[in-house]
């Protein structure tokens, strides 16, 4: 399976600021995703990060709040903008590839606390 390096591992941020989370994959993968897990909840898909084009966002998530970049097949960033305490969550990137028999791998996660 692919190996994903995600950082930062955790951060405490002031409301109104922005945080950018990075994911680096050790191999080229077709599809990358960003998930959010709010406290006590399950994982919810934010968006699919598309290489060379705008990300595809799920209902309830917008580009202005969660801008995503994917400049190549091994790297992506998620920015959480203008943060409020409600953004306190674990953020996870995930990849899947037909080459990897559609196995899904997750990054180590970023625990974000907004104060």
């Amino acid at each position: 399976s692919a190996v994903i390096s995600q950082k930062p591992s955790r951060d405490i941020c002031q409301r109104g600021t922005s945080l950018t989370i990075q994911c680096q994959v050790d191999s080229q993968v077709t599809m990358m995703f960003w998930y959010r897990q709010q406290p006590g909840q399950s994982l919810t898909l934010i968006a699919t990060a598309n290489q060379g084009s705008e990300a595809t966002y799920e209902s309830g998530f917008v580009i202005d709040k969660f801008p995503i970049s994917r400049p190549n097949l091994t790297f992506s960033t998620l920015t959480v903008s203008n943060m409020s305490p409600e953004d306190s969550s674990i953020y996870l990137c995930s990849v899947v590839s037909a080459v990897l028999n559609y196995g899904y791998t997750f990054g180590s996660g970023t625990r974000l606390t907004v104060v």
Binding site: M31, S42, I90, S94, G103, G109
Partner: protein, 111 residues
């Protein structure tokens, strides 16, 4: 609307007990059913099931998929305190390859 439902949501057992976790799904263009164990932040992969009736095993854990009835179970035998975690079930959609997660089952194994 695509959905994955897990039961029970919470379970407390004693070491040595056997547990069965349930997962039902209704997902458009179903590709596979996945089970994960989550202890801290990142879910740890357990099983991926694509075919009905074929049991997958890894040590004390096993899982099976029923594509006719749209459900899967995860069995853990001879539970240990280290099995305490949230177990997540997710269904993968072919094409978009998105995962739809259930709410998870929180398993607590007491000594």
């Amino acid at each position: 609307e695509d959905k994955v439902v897990q039961s029970p949501l919470s379970l407390v057992v004693h070491e040595g007990d056997t547990v069965t976790l349930n997962c039902s799904y209704e997902v458009t263009n179903f590709r596979s059913l996945l089970w994960y164990k989550q202890e801290k932040k990142a879910p740890t992969f357990l099983f991926m099931l694509t075919s009905s009736g074929i049991e997958k095993k890894s040590g004390r854990l096993s899982s099976i998929l029923d594509k006719k009835e749209l459900f899967s179970i995860l069995n853990i035998t001879a539970t240990q305190t280290g099995d305490s975690a949230v177990y997540l079930c997710a269904s993968a959609q072919g094409g978009s390859e998105k995962l739809v997660f259930g709410k998870g089952t929180k398993l607590t194994v007491n000594p």
